[in-house]
């Protein structure tokens, strides 16, 4: 039997080792993505359309699709999540109805994204006849995004002191006015942080999209901004492969000669975008907080 002091040393040494190993794995992972991906990046790679059988294609359309889908999904999910969070935190009484609703939201957040995607396929693509389209994809992403965004907005509301609510109500404002005029402005910085972080998640999602937004990226005409034309970038009814889906697609079909280089580049773009979202969330959150509270 070791004496407790040696035991302590051995155990803590082991923990140092474990933590070091984990840092090593994680850094190697990040390093691999960036080292193998960054050399692929060029203006041509980021803007040129993909080529199916030849070398030298880019990911321009996929990159554009990813952003377009992200914006649409956020536009649909933000108001719903905001409303739901306001009701849950400001109005809901602590009874079985609220508990059931909370359970439902938790279930939605724990559903595998492929199941959400399959439901989107069944309901939007087939039943509502929207086909493989940006719109179907945006709805699928909305379902995927709603529970987490709702929870993060609710957490933001929770950080606002109750005295603010009491102050509003004492001035004779209705509950709704208190929320919209007093609570929400104070909560904007942390809500924004939550929105940007969830945007990062949506940006990289692929499993929910392969059967809703589709796996093909028809050529786009970036001079045609009439949303009713099929080649217009704004048309929400066209199939739209995103960057994340593109990585999956070219790796599982394997007809593109430079699939590996393209995937490395695309992975680096995805990771850089997520990094950017993370930094933006922190930076903007702080900036806005300073400006709005003049602290």
């Amino acid at each position: 039997m070791m004496n407790p002091k040696t035991q302590n040393k051995v155990a803590i040494g082991t923990l140092y080792g474990v933590a070091g190993l984990v840092v090593l794995i994680l850094l190697a992972l990040l390093g691999y993505i960036l080292v193998s991906g960054l050399p692929q990046l060029s203006w041509h790679f980021l803007t040129a359309p993909a080529k199916a059988f030849l070398k030298g294609g880019g990911v321009g359309i996929q990159l554009y699709n990813s952003f377009y889908l992200l914006i649409l999904a956020m536009l649909i999910s933000f108001p719903i999540a905001l409303g739901a969070a306001i009701y849950l935190y400001e109005y809901a009484k602590d009874n079985w109805v609220t508990t059931t609703i909370r359970t439902a939201i938790e279930i939605l957040s724990s559903l595998p994204s492929v199941v959400v995607g399959l439901f989107g396929f069944l309901f939007f693509v087939v039943k509502l006849n929207l086909g493989f389209s940006i719109l179907s994809g945006a709805f699928a992403l909305t379902f995927f995004n709603l529970p987490l965004l709702t929870r993060s907005i609710e957490d933001s509301l929770r950080t606002i002191d109750t005295t603010q609510r009491e102050g509003g109500l004492a001035l004779g404002l209705s509950r709704w006015e208190t929320v919209t005029r007093v609570i929400l402005p104070a909560a904007v910085p942390s809500i924004l942080t939550g929105v940007i972080l969830s945007a990062g998640r949506v940006f990289g999602e692929a499993a929910a999209l392969i059967y809703t937004a589709g796996q093909s990226a028809p050529a786009l005409d970036f001079t045609d901004w009439n949303p009713f034309n099929i080649s217009s970038p704004l048309n929400p009814m066209r199939p739209a492969e995103t960057l994340a889906v593109h990585i999956w697609k070219i790796n599982s079909e394997g007809i593109m000669p430079d699939a590996k280089a393209i995937s490395s580049g695309s992975s680096a773009v995805l990771v850089l975008a997520i990094l950017l979202f993370n930094f933006a969330a922190r930076y903007l959150g702080k900036r806005l907080y300073k400006r709005l509270t003049s602290a």
Binding site: P4, Q7, N8, A11, I12, T14, L15, Y16, V18, A19, V22, V23, L26, L29, Y32, I33, S36, P79, A81, G83, A84, I86, Y87, Y91, I101, I105, E106, I107, L108, S110, L111, P112, V114, V115, L118, F121, L122, L146, S174, R175, W176, E177, V179, G200, R201, G204, E205, A206, A207, I210, Y211, V245, I247, N251, S252, S263, L270, I274, L275, F277
Partner: protein, 309 residues
């Protein structure tokens, strides 16, 4: 001079603010109802599609759960379709349990290091790195698995390199950041005075960690691990890219295999809606859905138990 009736009407009428209040309440509540409706619709649709295999195509539930050959297009010697989902169910459970077994010690060790031993380094290096890795898209993990882990497995163990082992490695790295950051939260919830009391009694740091802090944080840690398992079980693309996609009972860890999610992602686009092949895939989706509900339930039970203690 107003008549009393007019005055009465004026007093009884709702003010603008009151109307706005009702409006706001109704709008925010409908947003909430919409989310609930989505959940009900997802469960309802997937269940109705998934159960069709058993009710319209008359496949017996037992054959589905215990059959070992998956080939919904072909009928066997008895004229029954071959829809044995056991290989996929076993595949899914194997990679989930294996990856959780490997990830748990690393995640808990790292979390203890971050919170108890070196909070400074933890906050400076480990926290931002894990936060970033939680956000990395699963296809990126799949791609790295495909270009690094699969070739390494191939050189070390022979075969194609695709299989349960590669899937486990990919999922291990994928759930590690999630489990770690949730374990850190669990450790953080342990009150400071527990540690102080233990150290004041003369316990070493390790004794304090092992006998006090970890015991108190057990329910939270278990939640973290189950959460990681749920994520591993439901992960589709990263696993599909490295598992080899052969709907066979896995003979060893380096043979090509498949999981519920991998069969779904590759199959659903190649079958006709309403056919048996398609319905059988929806039954797999239903199994996936039920498992995610069960994981949810386990997390709840752990939470309740943790509160009672």
């Amino acid at each position: 001079m107003k008549s009393t009736e007019q005055l009465e009407q004026q007093l009884k009428r709702h003010s603008k603010a009151a109307k706005l209040e009702v409006w706001g309440k109704v709008v925010s509540f409908s947003a909430l109802l919409l989310i609930v409706a989505v959940v009900v619709a997802i469960i309802g649709f997937v269940a109705s599609k998934g159960l069709a295999t058993f009710f319209s195509n008359h496949v017996s539930l037992w054959d589905f759960l215990s059959g070992k050959s998956w080939n919904p297009g072909i009928t066997d010697a008895h004229g029954k379709p071959e829809v044995g989902a056991l290989p996929m169910i076993v595949g899914s459970f194997l990679i989930t349990i294996l990856s959780a077994l490997v990830a748990t010690p690393f995640a808990i060790g790292t979390a203890v290091f971050m919170n108890e031993i070196s909070p400074n380094k933890g906050a400076k290096i480990l926290q931002p790195v894990t936060e970033l890795l939680v956000g990395i898209p699963s296809v990126v993990y799949g791609f790295i698995g495909l270009s690094v882990i699969v070739p390494v497995t191939r050189t070390l163990f022979g075969g194609s390199g695709f299989g349960i082992l590669s899937g486990t490695c990919v999922l291990f790295v994928m759930i590690l950041p999630t489990v770690t950051s949730m374990s850190v939260d669990a450790l953080r919830a342990v009150p400071r005075y527990y540690r102080e009391a233990s150290l004041a009694l003369g316990a070493t740091q390790w004794q304090t960690i092992y006998k006090v802090v970890l015991r108190a944080a057990t329910p939270g840690m278990m939640t973290a691990v189950v959460f990681g398992m749920a994520r591993a079980f439901g992960e589709a693309l990263a696993v599909q890219m490295v598992i080899g996609n052969a709907a066979l009972m896995p003979g060893s860890l380096v043979d090509p295999a498949s999981t519920l999610t991998s069969v779904l992602t590759t199959g659903i686009g190649n079958t006709v809606m309403g056919s048996l092949q398609n319905n059988a895939l929806w039954s797999l989706a239903l199994v996936l859905l039920l498992m995610s509900l069960i994981f949810n339930l386990i997390i709840r039970l752990i939470g309740r138990k943790g509160r009672l203690q």
